[in-house]
Each structure stands twice: as structure tokens, then as C-alpha cells.
């Protein structure tokens, strides 16, 4: 039996062989035990072939999380049934320890936008999102976690703070929260809020997973507009926020996300080990 999941990595196809062979490479002794992997289910909604068999082999050795990007829970249309059916088939096949999605939308009519699009935190949107989360949980047959979005655009029509809005969704639907610390940092930088206050306000009992990723300044606007680019190492400021969060709420399965400029597996394991160490420290102090 694999150890309980501590720090995990987003699984990239170029790292399949190393991910399967792990803990043979990279991580300091003792750090690799709680290693787990996360994938976007959309990359595995296919009929057959090597991608699925790789995932099966890796899943046989490690806990797996499915992190959806295509359910469009904050959209103004009900979740797509065919998409939910494919999602459920993957849940049955791979038995993930956690399933998550986003407070965002990506589908409208016959168009899928490969992005996580924003919504105002209004009464109207709250009702929509809660209906969709309930429908998804009922169809998938389990509780899901919802991730806080990255904010770029100052919007009129917010009736809730972001944390209050997420808590309200969780309270009404029974879902949990996935706290993306990098998103909190980037949103606070872009919108002018306090990342510390955000993280201090999120209720510990709702948090089921934590994401850490890198960001970079917009090529035009520089530091005035940070982009959640997932193409760089986790920033020091984000590590400090992470330590603050787990210092308060305790350890949670924590994911290092890297989707662009993907480095060697060993380099990602270095970041994974740093998160694992922080989790061990929190455990030791508890």
C-alpha cells in the first residue's frame, strides 16, 4: 500500500517512465513516500493507447488525483452530460483519492474555450454554480473540491468576497475547497487585496488539497499584471504563504503544478521535496 499522499506532482507525458520508476531518482531519502500524481482527466478521455496504460501503471504504484478543467461549473449552461459520463468512467477506472474542478467556465453553446474564465460573485452566479456543483457531485457519485480562480479583471457586481463566496458554495453543496496559493498571491497582486488575509480566512475544515505553481509578469504590464502561467518554479512569496496556511490549518495533500517550460523530472522532485519537508515540519509541530 502506498503511504498517505503528502506532496504530489502534476504528471506530464514526458515524465511517465521516471514517474513509474520513482523513488529511484531525485528525492532525498524519506521524502518520496507520500508522492502522488495529478492529471487533467480531459487528457485521458480517449479510447485506448499508451497514455491510458501509462496512467494505469503509475496509478498501480501511487495515489492519483483527477483535476478537471472542462466541466465549466460557473458557466450559464448545465454541465455537459457526455463530459460527466467520461469523467465518471475515469473515476471508476482509476479510483482517485480526490476529484477537483474550478470556480470558472469554459463552455458556451458549441464552443469550448481552453481557459478558466471568470464570473462576478453575484447571487445569480451563486445559484448557477451551486446547481452545477450539485449536479456534478450527484453524477460523479462523490464530493468534489472547487479551486479558487486567478483574477485579472476588476469586475462590477461582486456581492461576496472570494472566500465568503467559496464557503457559501461549499456550505450549500457539501463540496470542499482546493486552495491554489499561487492564485491567491496573483489575484491579490492584480486586484490589490491581501493574500495573507485571504488565507487566514479560509475555513480549515473545507480545505482538501493545496496547489502551488509558478507565475510570471505580463510581457506588457510587468509586475502590475501577474499571469498564472505555470511555467516557472514556485515563487518564494508563494512558499511563505503556503507555510503560513499549513501552519494554521495543518498539512494537506499539496501539488506542484508545472504545465509550460517543463523541466527535468528531478527538478520538479526538488520542489516536491520542499513541500514534503514543509508538511513534515507541520506534522512534527502539531
Amino acid at each position: 500500500m502506498p503511504a498517505a499522499p503528502t506532496a504530489g506532482l502534476g504528471l506530464k507525458p514526458q515524465h511517465y517512465a521516471e514517474a513509474e520508476a520513482c523513488p529511484a531518482v531525485g528525492a532525498p531519502k524519506g521524502m518520496e513516500d507520500g508522492l502522488w500524481f495529478e492529471v487533467h482527466p480531459e487528457n485521458y478521455m480517449i479510447d485506448g493507447g499508451p497514455r491510458l496504460s501509462w496512467l494505469e501503471r503509475i496509478r498501480a504504484r501511487r495515489p492519483l488525483s483527477l483535476h478537471g478543467v472542462g466541466l465549466s461549473l460557473a458557466g450559464d449552461e448545465r454541465p455537459d452530460r457526455a463530459h460527466l459520463a467520461r469523467f465518471r468512467a475515469l473515476i471508476y477506472r482509476f479510483e482517485p483519492f480526490v476529484v477537483s474542478e474550478h470556480l470558472a467556465w469554459s463552455r458556451r453553446g458549441n464552443v469550448y474555450h481552453p481557459d478558466l474564465l471568470p464570473v462576478p460573485r453575484s447571487r445569480e452566479i451563486l445559484t448557477l454554480v451551486c446547481d452545477h456543483v450539485e449536479e456534478a457531485q450527484a453524477y460523479l457519485g462523490r464530493r468534489i473540491l472547487i479551486e479558487n480562480p486567478t483574477a485579472y479583471l476588476p469586475m462590477a457586481g461582486h456581492e461576496w468576497d472570494e472566500v465568503d463566496f467559496l464557503v457559501e458554495i461549499a456550505r450549500r453543496t457539501g463540496c470542499g475547497l482546493l486552495v491554489d496559493v499561487n492564485n491567491v498571491h496573483v489575484s491579490a497582486a492584480n486586484m490589490g487585496g491581501s493574500a495573507e488575509a485571504w488565507l487566514d480566512a479560509v475555513p480549515a475544515d473545507l480545505v482538501g488539497e493545496i496547489h502551488l505553481a509558478g507565475h510570471r509578469p505580463d510581457p506588457v504590464w510587468g509586475e502590475a499584471l501577474l499571469i498564472d502561467s505555470h511555467d516557472a518554479p514556485v515563487a518564494e512569496a508563494v512558499w511563505r504563504l503556503y507555510e503560513r496556511l499549513i501552519g494554521r490549518i495543518g498539512g494537506r495533500p499539496t501539488l506542484i503544478e508545472r504545465d509550460g517550460e517543463v523541466p527535468e523530472f528531478a527538478e520538479l522532485l526538488g520542489e516536491q521535496a520542499r513541500a514534503a519537508e514543509a508538511l513534515m515540519l507541520v506534522e512534527a509541530l502539531a
Partner: protein, 254 residues
């Protein structure tokens, strides 16, 4: 349907007027909208380039991404499963004016697409020589079933050798584009997608199989494509590379 979603989608398409009342604009608002527009367009172009690597290699990434920008605007796609995005790209490329002086591009795109389809196709156990031997003469009357990953092509020009030279490079690869009939088989009998040229007789045999004709009739097609052909040898060769699916009902007991 909400006014916000409609206005945001309009803004993604480059018209911002409807979105404005939903915002508290500052000096970076247009920059922020651009982040969303760029992410969505880049996501589609990245997916298209990943699915058509040979086309990108032949024209260069810069040309490819400029053309892809026009394609993704015309056909943004309706499915979050981006591994299968861009099925219509070969047809679109065939009509794309700036590609007119590159007549090999659309056929090469078709072969890239076939590679992707083979890669994502359902798993199935190919029929091996032992299965075929166990079925013996009964096989001649049985409708052939190709492995679900098999994709077959016959071109009047050298698209197969040109594509192979890029996708499966070898020292003796031929880069010429000329009128010469060539067949190609793309398949994934196990974990790996493979591709190889087909003789006229192999093409005739497999084309008959694709149409669901019995193995005996496929053998006759191969024979008439190449009189004097050693059909059992051709059949054994095709079995060895795993192009057939095991006939489901007659599978011998292990």
C-alpha cells in the same frame, strides 16, 4: 443564459462594448482581457501544433502558428479533449490560399491526423499466427476485421515517403514530391504507433479487409493487383505485424 457570459464571450471575440458595464475598468483592463483572449487562442494553437507535428516541421513553427490562428478562429472546437482537436485541419489546409504552392501539406496533415487517431484508438489484441493457424481454412470464409488502430492510405503522389521521412527519419529517407503511387499503413498493434509503406498487393488485400470482405476475397483482390503473387506469404507478413483483430467468436482456448 446570463448577460455576463454573453458579454464575456463577445469580448473574447474582440468586441468589448457589452462587457464594459460588467467591469470596474482601470488602466490595465484591456491588458487583463487580453490575458483571457491570449490563453484561449494559445491553448488551441498549441493543441493543433501538437497534433500536426509534421506539418509544423515542414513549414516551420512560425508559419504554422500564423496559419493555425486563422483555423482556430474559424473552428474553435467544442470539446475539452484537446488531444483530438483539429480533425478538419487537413481539409481546411487543402483550401488555404497561402498553402497553394505546397500541395503536399494537406496530404501530410491527413497522415498526422491518422497517426493521432491510431495513438488514441481502442486497445485490442491483434490476431497472431497461432490464432490464424487454429482457424485454418475456415478463415477464408470469415469477414476480416482490421485492428481498430489501423489507418490505410493510397496516394498518387509521394506523400507517404515524404511524411515518413519527417515522422520516422532514416538515413535513406526520400524527400522528393513527385507523381508516384504509394500506399501507407499506420497502426498501433501495441504501445507504439508504427507506419510503413504498402505494396499495391498489400493495399488491395487490406482495402478489401477494411470493407469487411472475407479473407478469401481479400486474397483474390491481392492476386489480381499483382499476378503471380505469393498470397500466403503476404498474409503471413500482415499477420506478423498485427493488422488484424482476433475474430471474437472463434478465439481458441488458451
Amino acid at each position: 443564459m446570463t448577460a455576463f457570459h454573453a458579454a464575456f464571450e463577445t469580448a473574447l471575440n474582440g468586441r468589448f462594448d457589452d462587457l464594459w458595464p460588467h467591469l470596474e475598468p482601470n488602466d490595465r483592463t484591456l491588458g487583463a482581457i487580453a490575458v483571457y483572449r491570449n490563453t484561449a487562442v494559445k491553448g488551441r494553437i498549441d493543441a493543433l501544433e501538437a497534433n500536426y507535428p509534421t506539418v509544423s516541421q515542414m513549414v516551420g513553427s512560425e508559419w504554422f502558428r500564423a496559419a493555425a490562428r486563422e483555423f482556430v478562429e474559424a473552428q474553435p472546437g467544442d470539446d475539452p479533449v484537446l488531444a483530438a482537436y483539429g480533425a478538419d485541419f487537413p481539409d481546411w489546409l487543402a483550401r488555404f490560399e497561402p498553402a497553394r504552392d505546397m500541395p503536399y501539406l494537406a496530404p501530410v496533415a491527413r497522415l498526422d491526423r491518422a497517426w493521432t487517431e491510431a495513438h488514441l484508438a481502442p486497445d485490442a489484441a491483434p490476431m497472431d499466427a497461432r490464432h490464424a493457424a487454429a482457424l485454418g481454412l475456415a478463415l477464408t470464409g470469415m469477414p476480416a476485421r482490421l485492428h481498430p488502430s489501423v489507418r490505410l492510405f493510397w496516394f498518387d503522389w509521394t506523400a507517404p515517403s515524404l511524411w515518413l521521412a519527417h515522422r520516422y527519419p532514416r538515413a535513406d529517407a526520400e524527400l522528393a514530391w513527385r507523381a508516384e503511387p504509394q500506399g501507407l499503413l499506420i497502426q498501433r498493434p501495441d504501445a507504439e504507433v508504427r507506419a510503413r509503406r504498402l505494396s499495391r498487393a498489400e493495399w488491395a488485400f487490406l482495402d478489401a479487409c477494411r470493407k469487411g470482405r472475407p479473407f478469401g476475397a481479400a486474397a483474390l483482390s491481392a492476386q489480381s493487383a499483382e499476378p503471380g503473387l505469393d498470397v500466403p506469404a503476404l498474409f503471413a507478413g500482415l499477420i506478423a505485424i498485427g493488422v488484424f483483430e482476433t475474430p471474437a467468436l472463434q478465439r481458441p482456448k488458451p
